[in-house]
């Protein structure tokens, strides 16, 4: 698709900033909405390019964590859940599909993390550390560059 999503959104930002905002009453509520819409469009332009990559990478990383954890000394029900999640794959690369699977894996990760925190063993300490490092990478990959205001 050309122009790309980010180019289209930045075009909208330019339209809002140069053609719409100057026409608005400085004291109007709509002025605030217009400014915020422009900021949102700039942020969405950043996210649009990377969203699928972020989901695919994180889904894969979580499945690797689940696979490793499924061999550890955990409750059988959790091990089964980990194994099932570890065996899943994306059926397509639509954002909705990737997001739904990411939500499922995130729920499983919460269950695993909650359990691992309570186990006093070296493998659990190491797994806890790996989960925290994964969460930090995930948080870093979602940071956005705020436009200068």
């Amino acid at each position: 698709m050309k122009p790309g999503i980010d180019q289209l959104l930045m075009g909208l930002v330019t339209t809002i900033a140069t053609r719409i905002i100057p026409e608005l009453n400085p004291s109007s509520y709509a002025l605030g909405d217009a400014r915020m819409s422009a900021v949102l469009a700039m942020l969405v332009a950043q996210e649009a390019d990377r969203a699928a990559d972020t989901y695919v990478r994180e889904n894969r990383e979580m499945r690797m964590l689940f696979l490793a954890a499924s061999h550890m000394d955990l409750l059988p029900a959790l091990r089964v859940r980990l194994s099932l999640d570890a065996a899943l794959e994306e059926s397509d690369l639509k954002l909705g599909t990737l997001s739904a699977l990411h939500d499922r894996h995130s729920e499983t990760l919460i269950a695993l993390h909650t359990t691992v925190e309570t186990i006093d063993a070296e493998w659990a300490t190491n797994l806890n550390r790996e989960i925290c490092q994964f969460l930090l990478r995930a948080a870093e990959s979602r940071l956005l560059v705020m436009p200068t205001m």
Binding site: S27, D33, M36, C132
Partner: protein
């Protein structure tokens, strides 16, 4: 926006409060933002002379689920004190007048509020504003609780229960409004529950949202009003300090507390004005709690936005950008904790 009949009703209500019959609303303008409250600037004609006032009411889908009289009582608690607040004029708990309870207060003219996302928002007045900012927070947290009008509205927790009350409340908000699984936030909630802070050194009035965007300055280096008290309560004073020092409010300058002054100086000013002692170990808990509370609010924004009950773009923004910063801050802390 209020219709003619509602404006007439507000005018009559103000007339009753000031005991003047010739009162009418000459003009009204809504302030942008304020996801938790609708705020209007109104010009009120009282017996022929115009007075600038502020009308605050609940939007019905308020992100902050607190009664209208709470904020009114908070303003009253500092009226005539060294903490500058607008004078509270009248409170209307009767939702039939305009569809929601509301209150009216005087309008502070000439004041500006800084956006947390604008770098160097105070320019050359940054240091002066910073000193007042933390001094005023100390005055709020050092104020007498028992004699305050706020104490008649809100409950007073035991000193060792402040943390659990706040944690329970914001956990419930997350459970109610979460749009997706939140592994980082859940880890933080578990950590907070497992590692409680010591009891509050004293019970204080807590502003609840004390940050640089909620004070008005005169553009010449003076803070002229502390606003937005809708989350005021009685609790551990470190809660307010941790919120004020949360990196989200640093005006894109991580080297300064609230983007204003050196952190150690900010804490010293707060201690001096409040008569309280900064406890670094206890503060660690409240520091993480502040980030959690922020994320809980941003999650509520997302819920309000996606459900269509408040489609202001500012809610979609709040649900997204500040939450990414909060999650990053929490995840970094966890990596430090586990080594």
């Amino acid at each position: 926006m209020l219709n003619e009949a509602q404006l007439l009703a507000v005018g009559q209500h103000i007339g009753s409060a000031v005991e003047v019959s010739d009162v009418r609303i000459a003009s009204i303008r809504r302030f942008h933002g304020g996801a938790s409250r609708e705020t209007y600037a109104i010009d009120v004609s009282i017996a022929g002379s115009t007075h600038g006032m502020i009308l605050r009411c609940d939007p019905g889908d308020s992100l902050i689920d607190t009664p209208r009289e709470l904020e009114y009582a908070a303003f009253q608690s500092f009226e005539g004190s060294t903490v500058p607040v607008p004078r509270a004029i009248s409170l209307c708990g009767d939702a039939s007048l305009i569809g929601t309870p509301f209150f009216v207060m005087e309008r502070i003219e000439g004041g500006e509020a800084a956006s947390p996302f604008v770098a160097d928002a105070y320019g050359a007045h940054r240091d002066a504003i910073g000193q007042q900012f933390f001094d005023l927070l100390g005055r709020i947290n050092g104020a007498d609780v028992n004699s305050s009008p706020l104490a008649r509205i809100v409950d007073t927790p035991l000193a060792d229960q402040c943390w659990v009350r706040e944690l329970d409340y914001w956990t419930a908000q997350v459970e109610k409004n979460a749009l997706q699984p939140e592994p980082i936030l859940m880890a933080a909630l578990r950590w907070l529950r497992r590692n409680p802070p010591p009891p509050a050194q004293r019970l204080s009035i807590i502003h609840g949202d004390y940050r640089n965007g909620n004070v008005l300055h005169d553009g010449a280096g003076r803070i002229i009003a502390v606003l937005d008290w809708e989350m005021a309560h009685i609790g551990d004073p470190l809660e307010d300090l941790a919120w004020a020092l949360d990196p989200l409010w640093n005006l894109q300058d991580a080297s300064r507390a609230a983007g204003l002054i050196d952190r150690a100086k900010a804490i010293a000013l707060w201690e001096q004005a409040s008569g309280l002692t900064f406890d670094e170990a206890a503060f660690k808990w409240w520091e993480m709690f502040a980030t959690v509370k922020g994320i809980a609010i941003w999650i509520s924004s997302g819920h309000a936005s996606i459900s269509g009950i408040n489609t202001d773009p500012v809610l979609a923004f709040s649900a997204w950008y500040p939450k990414t910063l909060g999650n990053h801050a929490l995840a970094k802390r966890f990596c430090e904790l586990v080594g």
